[in-house]
């Protein structure tokens, strides 16, 4: 066994308990006095950008991720108040410009021309429109990094959780209600207002004391609803197209948000 391998194994054996301990400390947020690292704690503890007792006003644009059948681009505004350095309450309002993807359109056309019996409509077809939510933001991490070795950037990392309601629209890709001469003129459309939950993780990159760029990964989840026992011919004739599924599951709408927040 060469020296390199021996050195590696010694390093591994010596360091594992320390690594586990430090990681556990990070997870459970031990007080500052519990750790005597090589870094000077004051470096980051003295925050250049403090948000305590400050209001926030923000605007952002969100783009849907994992767009299978529905695409979403959302315009959002938010107002919030920072009760402490780490805890804040946000109220958000948004309007999503949403619709079917090209894949959904192609499938709808293909299925319409296929005479085979299809008894169950597709899931995850609800498009979010106007929506509002309220939630709590927890930002325990404050840090800074150096861009290209010279420019310091201060940031805060946070998680967000809350709930609200959204106006939604759904257009079936299976059930045609108005047949046309060269295809289906109109598929079954439904509207509803539904409760939703939302969670997010994000970063605020401070540009100055009064504002920050915000980058966020957000998930909206709401109860799905679609029809089973579908009779396409009956739907074309104006009859009942089917019955609601008893276990439709949940729809998750993931999006990446990019925005700017003013602090005052």
């Amino acid at each position: 066994m060469g020296f390199g391998r021996l050195h590696f194994i010694r390093t591994l054996v010596r360091g594992v308990p320390l690594g586990v301990a430090v990681w556990a400390a990070l997870l459970f947020a031990l007080p500052a006095g519990a750790q005597q690292g090589a870094l000077d704690r004051a470096i980051v503890r003295n925050r250049l950008y403090a948000l305590n007792d400050k209001f926030e006003l923000g605007a952002s644009i969100g783009v849907g991720l994992l767009t299978h059948l529905v695409r979403t681009t959302q315009l959002q505004a938010s107002i919030g108040f920072n009760f402490t350095e780490t805890w804040a309450l946000d109220i958000r309002a948004g309007y999503a410009l949403s619709g079917h993807t090209g894949l959904a359109g192609a499938l709808a056309e293909q299925v319409y021309r296929d005479p085979a019996v299809r008894s169950e409509d597709f899931s995850d077809l609800w498009e979010m429109k106007l929506n509002g939510s309220i939630g709590v933001r927890w930002a325990p991490i404050y840090g800074k990094f150096s861009l290209l070795g010279e420019l310091p950037i201060h940031f805060k990392a946070y998680v967000w959780a809350g709930g609200g309601a959204a106006r939604m629209h759904r257009e079936s890709i299976l059930i045609c209600t108005t047949p046309g001469t060269n295809g289906c003129d109109a598929f079954l459309g439904q509207n509803r207002t539904a409760p939703m939950a939302s969670v997010a993780v994000g970063l605020k990159l401070f540009t100055h004391r009064g504002g920050a760029i915000r980058i966020e990964l957000r998930d909206y989840s709401f109860r799905d609803a679609y029809l089973v026992g579908v009779d396409r011919e009956r739907a074309k004739a104006g009859g009942s197209p089917g019955t609601p599924s008893s276990s439709p599951g949940w729809t998750h709408l993931g999006q990446i948000d990019l925005g700017y927040t003013l602090h005052f």
């Binding site: 990681w23 991720l65 310091p152």
Partner: protein, 287 residues
């Protein structure tokens, strides 16, 4: 990755904007009593230099996050030799211990009788790629004004080889598990980015997103061409290997079904460039 490029450009533009807006010529002063919050320069020298050191990273979980037609979950190992403080050479083998069509693909099949092109639903069994790793950004953070941590932004890129397969018979409670046919080895490329969070002098947690890009062309299954498969379909009991065609791979109780599905897959050869975007979570040791 093409979809992500505008987002990456916007991200770097925003980073630069934030940096320029915050910039203080020459960095923050060492002592400025009028602004106690900038008492020390933003980023100090690293405690342990990485130059000319080795790093071994294990990612127990690497899960696909953009699975429209496929779903992959695996584990990966990465070895990095740091040529300089911020630049190294890396080699990464990955093994996907779970690779199957996605729930969306199955829903397409069961509800609409449709499915993705064979090339779009190609599964990556394993891969190995080598390339470079750079850590252009180094920073530190505090958790709840207590624990201090340091992190680096890690960017990586490389090229290599991967083995692909395609599902033949679907999983069915009546007939048992799914069966798969080998589509062969393909060239792969890899681009990645993420965070390396130092938890001790030599140890770090790595959270990365890596895009494994591979070209997919489905014109053979288990090495068998359409002509081979036509012959096997005529006489499914005569599973004799010939040339590149490994006919014996179709053995089993569903050989006939598998051959028929394989024939359908290659009947109209399809091709695509696939992006397997995965979230890799692991830890590394520097030695």
């Amino acid at each position: 990755m093409r979809r992500l490029m505008p987002a990456l450009i916007v991200f770097w533009t925003l980073m630069a904007t934030a940096a320029l807006a915050q910039s203080e010529p020459g960095g923050a002063p060492l002592e400025d009593h009028s602004q106690p919050n900038v008492a020390v320069h933003a980023v100090e020298k690293k405690e342990l230099s990485e130059a000319r050191r080795h790093e071994l990273a294990l990612y127990p979980v690497a899960v696909q996050v953009n699975g429209k037609f496929t779903r992959h979950t695996g584990s990966a190992l990465s070895y990095v030799y740091h040529l300089q403080e911020r630049f190294g050479l890396q080699i990464t083998p990955i093994f996907n211990w779970h690779s199957a069509p996605s729930g969306f693909n199955r829903e397409l099949e069961t509800k609409l009788g449709a499915s993705a092109d064979p090339a779009n639903s190609l599964l990556l069994n394993w891969g190995i790629h080598a390339g470079v790793e750079a850590t252009p950004i180094y920073g530190k953070f505090t958790f709840h004004n207590g624990t201090l941590g340091r992190f680096s932004l890690v960017l990586s890129g490389g090229a290599g080889l991967g083995h692909t397969r395609h599902q033949l018979k679907s999983e069915d409670p009546a007939t048992g598990g799914a069966t798969y046919g080998s589509i062969g080895n393909k060239f792969i490329g890899s681009l990645g980015g993420g965070l390396k969070l130092e938890i001790a002098r030599r140890y770090a947690i790595r959270l990365e997103v890596r895009d494994v890009i591979y070209t997919a062309r489905v014109d053979k299954v288990n090495g068998c061409t359409l002509e081979d498969l036509n012959g096997l379909q005529d006489d499914p009991t005569n599973l004799v290997n010939s040339g590149s065609c490994k006919a014996s791979s179709f053995s089993g109780p569903f050989a006939e079904t598998d051959i028929a599905i394989a024939r359908t897959l290659v009947e109209t050869p399809s091709s695509a460039v696939l992006n397997n975007l995965g979230f890799y979570a692991g830890f590394s040791v520097l030695f």
